[in-house]
Symmetry: C2
Subunit: 153 residues, 2 copies
DNA sequence: ATGTTTGCAAATAGTTTGCATCCAG
DNA sequence: CTGGATGCAAACTATTTGCAAACAT
């Protein structure tokens, strides 16, 4: 689904991506996308809204929200921890990892030695204190594998 | 902080764990913990509430919420994707991984070849379709490293 | 032209807070 | 006894939805 030509300007890439996904290129969408590109800090919809308002004072938070979800749905951007679902709890505090079904949201635990033994990148060691390592695999579970579901969120 | 003797019955372990963390062992907490142990499905507070109500009909959703957060805070249970924070977005769809500061919530991107090359456990291959692999490291960032912050959530 | 997108307002969902009462230690 | 825990209600925050007007194609 993703474009294979990264040799376009970010803007052309965006236009092309939208066209391929039958999305209209509106000033709002453009502004949001450009703001996102400038934002290395994984902003929330609210924060993007505040920033985009500087150039488009009349934009609404709803539009930002809808646009971001749309972008995520077509794979133009990613959502980071916090998949928009409710908080869920896990009584297993021993080391284990998760598989998450992109269709039904099911989370499956698994244990896998090699993942526990993962090394920490040198470059991080100097500035960060790493306490936990978690591997998250994503894809489709047995039930959803065949059905052509739409991806969450 | 975690107890080192897993050779207690789950119930005694719980009582002991609570005592060490100066938490009273109330019927509600007991019921919630026991329900959690029976729940391999990473339930939400709402779902736990529904289940626990069968044995404690007068329990409130607030108590379930507070109790789960308390349990998570003392490390008795874990919270799963969806850290209770707002949804955040990432314009980088190329492969990369995240470090998350347990204190300030900051998310730092990093790239690390070996993580991209991770093998998928055999046991999962037969039933699941794995599309993405993400490694999440957690700990304290440079700024928070020294300050003794309380852990989110 | 026309079907999508937007902005607004209202609804909803999930979570948190204040407070009086209750109970485990 | 007494401070922490609970239940209730209300507040709050984030997100979603319905709809008429506006706009991109």
């Amino acid at each position: 689904m993703k474009l294979a030509q990264p040799d376009l300007s970010p803007l052309d890439f965006f236009r092309e991506y939208c066209r391929q996904h039958h999305l209209k290129v509106t000033p709002q969408r453009l502004a949001i996308y450009q703001e996102l590109l400038k934002s290395p800090d994984h902003p929330s919809a609210e924060i993007i809204y505040e920033r985009v308002k500087k150039s488009l004072p009349d934009i609404s938070l709803d539009t930002v929200n809808r646009t971001l979800l749309t972008f995520a749905r077509i794979g133009l951007i990613d959502t980071v921890e916090g998949y928009g679902e409710v908080r869920r709890f896990d009584p297993k505090t021993q080391r284990h990892h998760h598989f998450r079904c992109l269709s039904c949201g099911r989370i499956i635990d698994f244990e896998y030695e090699p993942y526990d033994a993962l090394s920490i990148p040198e470059s991080l060691q100097t500035t960060l204190t790493v306490l936990k390592k978690k591997v998250l695999l994503e894809g489709y579970c047995e039930q959803c594998r065949l059905k052509k579901h739409k991806v969450r969120p």
